[in-house]
Subunit: 429 residues, 2 copies
């Protein structure tokens, strides 16, 4: 019977349910999978955990080094989060011949190339199912799709908090701040939810998916990242009237020449399955070259669901014949530069209700080669437009990002408008 | 390099995209997975397919027997649907030493025990990823969860057509018939969608999942199956006011003594992820003994997505070391009888607005031991209650199905009510 000894660093939100479940599953796994797993050590800086590990009859250490250097341990599971010392623990574990499981998205997004290259060099495996869309077996399923052919586009709703907020705004016609408060009360948003709201969390996850699908890590600071804090209820309602939903999408696309990575609120057709993915759900939609489209969604967070993903990594490592190879690419030149991006745009202006405003805006857009697909000007008497400004909503045809940036600068200077203009990208999936 | 020869029977909605994609993927699979797959024969009764197969350079036969008896073929893929002759083809293929892949849910729901027992006896594999929730890798992921422990409850939204209809009714306050018409126009419902609407399609799928999770096939005629055609917009709106969504759920539960299988419209909390699964999406929510909860959703239908599931079965069979054993249980006695079921209920009555009606209803319920959790009586002047009848909505505490049946009979006889009363089950997931 195959024996594997594991050590767990970090017994917190994910670590605690994982530890408890794994402990309970050991005899079932032994009986059904003929696999003898033993938890050799756990490590945490919180002395309370010592009591828990005592109750579970598992040796406790307070210094991670004492766990990593244990020659008995085959697999080190890093669940402390954060960049440091997580990175140092993972690197050290690999050097000492351990396979590694991590749920740490920030770590992989920042140091993935280095970590995967090292693992490749040393013939070790690094697994990370829980790092993206915690409870959804996303990594495993994307890897499966990759066995049939190449992936073209990846569109993900990868953050439950922001999806909850946008869904509630849309469903109950509430403002951003009102729903954010509600999300905090319900426990769907952290007290400090800025990394969710501003898109950083989604950025980390799409960067990992981009690596998995296209073999290259993007430089995080080169990516367009916009959060949802500037999305107003008015935008959601205007988008609805035009047949769109607004979702915070994390996008990675590859065409013949370049890879494109972005995170931003996006207008997508109301009929698309991603638009139907509401509440705290995460989802991913993938276009492949020959294997068709693929959508998967589920619970992105939650200690119990997420720890199932860590468990699944443990079994994968135990069952694999050869190390799972993911070599970190270093070449970054094939990522498309921000200014070379192009897509369709939703533009909303707050204009004074006097003649000529529309003409001025249209001229600026035309001068920059931006073609207008539709215009809606609302009457002032209507709800949502009680101010002295009337809203004008435009959808453009495909335009260059650099042209839109210029248009924004010029239009924001017009005295007939209340700046800033609202700009949201549109995707046809 | 491992060689596998496959034959495909039925080149239709799923078969055609599968054939085209597999053909295109062969060289990629060979290069990346060191697997030499060849499509030896295809079979269809439609002579048009002969042209297609000629173009793809694949031998065509019009008689399935000529494919099944080909000694070169290792894997027979049955994609014709229907019970007969699909069953005979599958049985015959197993006897001739082939592994089998099928997307045929009706076949497995009706003859699964026989088919899996035969495969077990002969040491062959039967795979069916595409039979449940076509494009979602449900079978694979449920099997994965089963590796960690036991499953307690399975709740599925397994039919895209009915989920689309209920979602649209809820979102746009439209009637059942109005949305059904829309669904047909959009291609989300077949011209004859009765097997979707009346729950039969969901029944077939949950019966397969029940077998996978609990090792036993239920007798289809012993299952409570109710469709969505009696769900009115009023029910959806009243349920919303009370914090519920109505979904067509397929349920399989196991407690210490019995397995329970049912398919019916169900009130579930609006906050539950299944309630957020809108449009044509399918979803499954699973409670396990030790591995926590698990939700997976995705596209249940669509030729391209579904054929990805068939492809994944092909690769599974090619990669497996030993046949995948699923022995069909024959013992049926441990399924709970319909009359022994109990759950919470939503009851809606149409009462004449005169004194004493509520008292009469309450007395009947009390006499049968049914305890009322909440009552809402609407005023006649409100929308949705323009008739001379006023709606009364009650939620009960847990009650026995047999008592509710009796209550219905007695209450329907009251002259102060317009029969029939509406009864919808409630589940706390």
């Amino acid at each position: 019977m195959l024996k594997k000894r594991i050590g767990i660093i970090g017994i917190g939100t994910v670590g605690k349910p994982f530890l408890v479940q794994l402990k309970k599953s050991l005899s079932y796994i032994k009986a059904n999978l003929e696999l003898d797993i033993k938890i050799s050590k756990v490590c945490d800086i919180n002395p309370e955990i010592k009591k828990l590990s005592g109750k579970l009859n598992i040796p406790f250490v307070s210094r991670a080094e004492d766990l990593i250097s244990d020659p008995q341990i085959d697999i080190v599971i890093e669940l402390i989060g954060g960049l440091h010392p997580a990175k140092e623990y993972v690197i050290s574990a690999l050097y000492q011949g351990k396979d590694v499981i991590t749920a740490n998205k920030a770590l992989l997004a920042n140091y993935g190339a280095e970590i995967f290259n090292l693992a490749y060099k040393l013939g070790r495996t690094v697994k990370f199912e829980a790092a993206v869309a915690g409870g959804v077996p996303l990594i495993k399923n994307v890897s499966e799709v990759l066995r049939f052919g190449k992936i073209r586009n990846v569109y993900g709703i990868l953050n439950g908090t922001t999806n909850f907020i946008l869904s509630q705004m849309s469903r109950y016609s509430k403002s951003f701040s009102e729903v954010l408060e509600e999300a905090k009360q319900k426990g769907f948003a952290e007290k400090d939810s800025s990394l969710d709201i501003n898109g950083t969390d989604s950025l980390h996850k799409i960067s990992i998916l981009c690596f998995l699908c296209f073999g290259a890590f993007v430089k995080l600071k080169d990516v367009i990242v916009e959060g949802i804090d500037k999305i107003t209820l008015a935008d959601i309602l205007y988008a609805q009237e035009l047949g769109f939903s607004i979702k915070l999408l994390a996008i990675a696309k590859k065409d013949t020449s370049k890879i494109e990575v972005r995170v931003h609120p996006t207008l997508i057709s109301q009929d698309h399955p991603l638009a139907k993915t509401g509440g705290v759900l995460n989802a991913i939609f993938i276009n492949t070259d020959i294997a068709g489209n693929f959508l998967l969604s589920g619970l992105g967070a939650g200690g119990k669901s997420t720890s199932l993903s860590v468990l699944s990594d443990v079994l994968s490592i135990c069952n694999q014949k050869n190390p799972w190879v993911l070599k970190g690419q270093k070449k970054r030149s094939f990522f498309r530069r921000k200014e070379d991006l192009s897509c369709r745009y939703y533009l909303r202006f707050q204009a004074l209700d006097r003649p000529g405003v529309l003409a001025k805006i249209s001229k600026i857009l035309a001068d920059l080669g931006i073609s207008i697909a539709s215009v809606t000007q609302k009457e002032r008497g209507l709800p949502l437009s009680k101010s002295k400004f009337v809203p004008i909503v435009m959808l453009t045809h495909k335009a260059k990002e650099s042209s839109i940036v210029k248009a924004r600068q010029r239009i924001d200077k017009l005295s007939d408008l209340k700046p800033p203009i609202q700009i949201i990208r549109i995707e046809s999936l």
